[in-house]
């Protein structure tokens, strides 16, 4: 009875997971485990497996015992891998160093017990000597070329995702001088980019003009609330007047889009899945033989 109820829980979880994935409500993998209901169901499942394990011991059913043990190992390794995994995307300009803080990452997924990757490195070059899809990082004085294949970085892994140009935006007013001067890490090769500064009430929309002289012609729009204050072309270094202020794109520099991940217990999880599959097949074969 307990074993059947546990099987029902497992099948129900499998069914609803498939429905959610097929409908596009969640992506398969860690995102599924982010759902509170899936975690709750996992707890129920763990309880059911432990109860089934005790029942198997009392009834001296070897097949059920093996199945329950394999299922429990699979559940535990999945929990461990989920809690300690880390996936993150970040961008570094040439000369910038990685810092293991949440603000370093633009997006990602972090297990509840996973630390931010503690590696220490500096990005020195993006696409060195014109080699596309590569960047150079320096760790403890040793330079390493990374590409789109995952490479070891301490206990984590890193890979190069792409390169982009960050424009240097300068906003100044006659009375207050320079109000903002920062490289904005937006990828202008992906078309028009929208960005804001915390200190200013403006929204900037910037894209590269395709027919510029060289690569230095941009299309800039500056908005405030519902109003468009400036909408036109601007060359590199040109100051445009916007509501008593001046906005210019003074420079641009290359930056790299990187991905870092930490995968703990993944091999154990895969081994547990294989073990469970083998035990389940053997159990079915044995039942048919009887």
């Amino acid at each position: 009875m307990i074993a059947m109820a546990t099987l029902g829980l497992a099948l129900s979880l499998l069914f609803w997971s498939l429905v959610l994935v097929v409908a596009g409500a969640v992506k398969p993998g860690w995102q599924m485990l982010d759902l509170t209901v899936v975690r709750f169901w996992g707890l129920l499942l763990a309880g059911g497996i432990v109860a089934s394990l005790v029942t198997a011991l009392l009834q001296r059913s070897r097949t059920q015992l093996c199945l329950c043990l394999a299922a429990l190992i699979l559940l535990l390794t999945t929990t461990y891998a989920y809690l300690f995994h880390f996936d993150g995307a970040l961008s570094l300009a040439e000369g910038e160093s990685y810092e293991p803080f949440p603000t370093s990452f633009s997006s990602g997924h972090k297990g509840a017990l996973a630390p931010f990757p503690q590696a220490s490195f500096t990005l020195t070059r993006v696409e060195p000597d014109g080699k596309k899809g590569r960047a150079v990082i320096v760790q403890k004085g040793v330079g390493t070329e990374i590409d789109t294949i995952w490479r070891s970085l301490g206990s984590s892994e890193i890979r190069f995702k792409g390169a982009a140009l960050a424009p240097l935006i300068v906003v100044s007013s006659k009375e207050k001088g320079e109000l903002e001067r920062s490289y904005v890490k937006v990828d202008l090769s992906q078309g028009e980019q929208v960005f804001e500064f915390d200190t200013l009430p403006y929204q900037f929309l910037l894209r590269r003009e395709p027919k510029g002289d060289g690569n230095d012609l941009f299309h800039l729009e500056v908005r405030r609330g519902k109003l468009s204050l400036f909408d036109g072309s601007a060359t590199l270094g040109q100051k445009v007047a916007v509501q008593g202020m001046e906005v210019s794109i003074d420079d641009h520099r290359k930056f790299a889009l990187l991905e870092i991940r930490t995968r703990r217990g993944l091999v154990a999880l895969q081994a547990a899945a294989v073990l469970f599959a083998v035990v389940a097949v053997l159990a079915v074969v044995r039942r048919k033989a009887i």
């Binding site: 129900s12 959610l20 969640v26």
Partner: protein
């Protein structure tokens, strides 16, 4: 069969009802979240208008259906206008919803053709500074669902619209 039926109930109890509603909307489009999303965008714009019409009074900012970052952006804008000695008064002329698309259980994108009238007023005397102008734009709103409510996360113009065209009141 019981665990199969219990899962949706557990979803609701665990606060994951949005996922079930999304599944339902995929099966029966009329049960979608379109109306709630439209209400959130309309409410956002009404509150936006109130903040400016009340001379930058930010007391109602907590009620704006927007994420914290978006609300901070509104405060920065209204605050800096006040500091500059002027307030900007907006008035919605029309909000025409062109499309409402739920990208996932917790996210949606809305395209709205907006028409606004606006005028600057003196921050102290509240006297009009300049004329009433009109502006229109096709805006893209990105919304997220948090705590069962739809909140505006980002708002940006869509290219190809007749933005910034001065039309008068």
């Amino acid at each position: 069969m019981i665990p199969l039926a219990l899962f949706p109930l557990a979803s609701v109890a665990c606060g994951d009802a949005a996922y079930l509603r999304y599944l339902l909307a995929r099966a029966v489009p009329s049960l979608g979240e379109s109306d709630r999303i439209k209400v959130a965008v309309t409410e956002f714009n009404n509150r936006f208008m109130d903040i400016y019409a009340s001379q930058g009074d930010k007391r109602g900012i907590g009620a704006v259906p927007a994420t914290v970052a978006m609300r901070h952006s509104l405060v920065t804008d209204a605050g800096s206008l006040w500091i500059g000695g002027q307030v900007l008064v907006y008035d919605i002329a029309s909000l025409d919803f062109r499309s409402v698309k739920q990208d996932g259980p917790l996210s949606a994108t809305v395209l709205v053709k907006e028409e606004w009238n606006y005028q600057y007023k003196d921050g102290k005397t509240y006297k009009e500074v300049g004329q009433v102008h009109g502006t229109g734009a096709l805006m893209r709103y990105r919304l997220v669902q948090q705590g069962g409510k739809w909140l505006v996360q980002a708002c940006e113009p869509v290219r190809g619209s007749d933005k910034g065209v001065k039309k008068g009141a």
